[in-house]
Symmetry: C2
């Protein structure tokens, strides 16, 4: 099939098998991501609805509740953990600070609820492992919310690579930077507190995008890493990586060279160079993703403007639950990223290449 | 000054101070680069002329001679070393395999001729040091032919950074890949022979572009490196880096993450992300270089289609000789890249971060 046909095909949900049924969600953690992106996305989704809101205070949960017609209950984290209103939801979406993911995933597992958990999975490898055990023991589905996996242009990139159009992948470049302090002027926020964020901030929160999206597009896993990182700005005094560079060797032999910073101009891209062509996702990780593929046959470009990444993500998760099918980004998938991120921090600290 | 004004200004030779005078060149090494790019560029230049052709055989030198009206002599390398026709040229341009640069630079120095030498300077750090000593002792100018330094879009990028338009530079990404075996089907070529190329092939020949162009645009020097590299294809059996990833820390604190391969699809780019904006050179290193700068004020883009990079390079070198001024990319400038490249190979071998 020639490349033009890939780009001519309408953006389709190639994973969608269910058109009926609804998964009722408890949203655990009501920060700006949940309120600005998740609630509107679920409202537009085919298979999902929000029925429970969980936050630190009853007031905040009530406030969000006022905007959601389908809401059945608003509660505190403690009430959620204690099992309030479990009859009102089927699954939980966890978007709290990283170090709280385990507690709420374990509570969800005890309540017999499926878990969609934001990335990175937790603050540490050990906590991520405990989440997997809890969900396995309870027999509930655990999925890590890598929204790039359901982004149509990323799925198209994966198909282009799998079908050999750029030849054998050889080199990857990934960049993910944003001005965190301009987005949220609070110098005392959780992403800068190691007790809440984990190993650091830029690699955990941003570097995970090129690390994981390359995994997905290449269909390959990381096996070795290198890194340098530094913090200079006072707001980053407690985390090691105001900015970082890291390299990853994947198990197909591809090398990725990545840069990331929570204190730089908004810039996202992912480039893959193969033996017979290259592809670029730019912007890559901030919603409207543009894919460009170049081979000896020419250059092709597209953006899936009509698809909302969080809507795709929620409907995919719900589809798999309703169909009784496995999810792609399960706990073990997320755990491998946690191990890679821990190794990236270790590599920077030791000045050595670390094998996973 | 707002960014639009930088892009509105005509492409100018901001270094040109001389309009009269001619530097007569002996071209040492008549491979495809010299015949396809250098001879036409010198013919179009303001301040340069080719008067001597030097090659391995008198036949080859004669053949090239037949195309150059201004030629006074064609000779073998041995005749050049022995001082034939020294009255017919003022400077030499060396474009032989890397490990022959020293011998011909030392000969030129003995003859009192200025030296424009292709990058990388030599096959090893020690040979590069010897070239500097020879030229210093003879009091002749030595310049390393980094054509990106006179590329108008690269000079514009350097000005945009120096004037603070992207804020403080934080992260760099560089890519330089080409399909060497498709460009030259000979599996037994000098770039794949460690006796002729030096430490390796991809970093020496291609990786040097992002390494050095970032130095120039940032006005910063490398201080530490990391790398992973591998060779798989039989043609690369004798060199360690059919492909490589390497990271560089510059003395301004910026990190560069780079990929390079002599066995991948033609891809060149350099991205710099600062605190207030970013810039992209893409294509970066293969003649028509396009610069894009993005800040909160918008996106600006340009290509200097009218400027020939080798013509700019030769006229800059001649301008400095005629004016009696120093050159930017002197031997010490080139030597630092040689040390960085040696360290990149050492870092890959040892699996450690190497400080320069």
């Amino acid at each position: 099939m020639d490349l033009q046909k890939y780009f001519d095909a309408p953006v389709s949900r190639d994973w969608q098998t269910m058109n009926d049924g609804t998964v009722r969600f408890a949203l655990v953690g009501l920060g700006w991501w949940t309120t600005d992106f998740v609630i509107p996305a679920v409202a537009d989704s085919d298979l999902c609805t929000v029925t429970v809101a969980v936050s630190g205070s009853a007031d905040k949960a009530e406030h969000v509740a006022s905007d959601v017609d389908t809401l059945k209950a608003a509660m505190t984290y403690d009430e959620f953990v204690d099992g309030a209103a479990t009859e009102s939801y089927d699954a939980v979406y966890i978007a709290t600070p990283n170090s709280r993911h385990r507690e709420y995933a374990e509570a969800a597992a005890r309540h017999g609820k499926a878990v969609l958990c934001e990335k990175p999975m937790e603050a540490t490898v050990e906590d991520a492992e405990a989440m997997i055990d809890a969900c396995d023991d309870a027999g509930v589905t655990l999925m890590v919310a890598y929204r790039m996996h359901t982004e149509p242009m990323v799925r198209l990139a994966r198909r282009v690579v799998a079908d050999g159009h750029i030849g054998d992948p050889r080199l990857v470049q990934g960049m993910n930077a944003q001005p965190l302090l301009e987005m949220n002027g609070d110098l005392d926020q959780w992403r800068l507190d190691p007790d809440l964020t984990g190993y650091g901030t830029s690699v955990m929160d941003l570097g995970i995008y090129p690390l994981n999206t390359a995994r997905f597009v290449l269909d390959a896993d990381p096996v070795a890493v290198q890194s340098m990182m530094i913090s200079k700005h006072e707001a980053f005094a407690d985390v090691p990586d105001e900015r970082a560079t890291f390299a990853v060797r994947y198990d197909d032999g591809t090398y990725a060279a990545c840069g990331t910073s929570q204190n730089a101009f908004d810039t996202t891209s992912l480039d893959i160079v193969g033996t017979n062509g290259n592809l670029t996702l730019k912007p890559a990780f901030h919603m409207e993703t543009t894919l460009t593929v170049t081979t000896d046959d020419g250059t092709y470009e597209s953006t899936a403007e009509s698809a909302d990444q969080m809507e795709e993500e929620f409907d995919y998760f719900a589809n798999q639950l309703l169909a009784g099918e496995k999810v792609y980004a399960d706990g073990r998938h997320g755990l491998l990223d946690m191990r890679a991120i821990a190794a990236i921090h270790d590599a920077a600290d030791r000045g050595e290449t670390i094998r996973l």
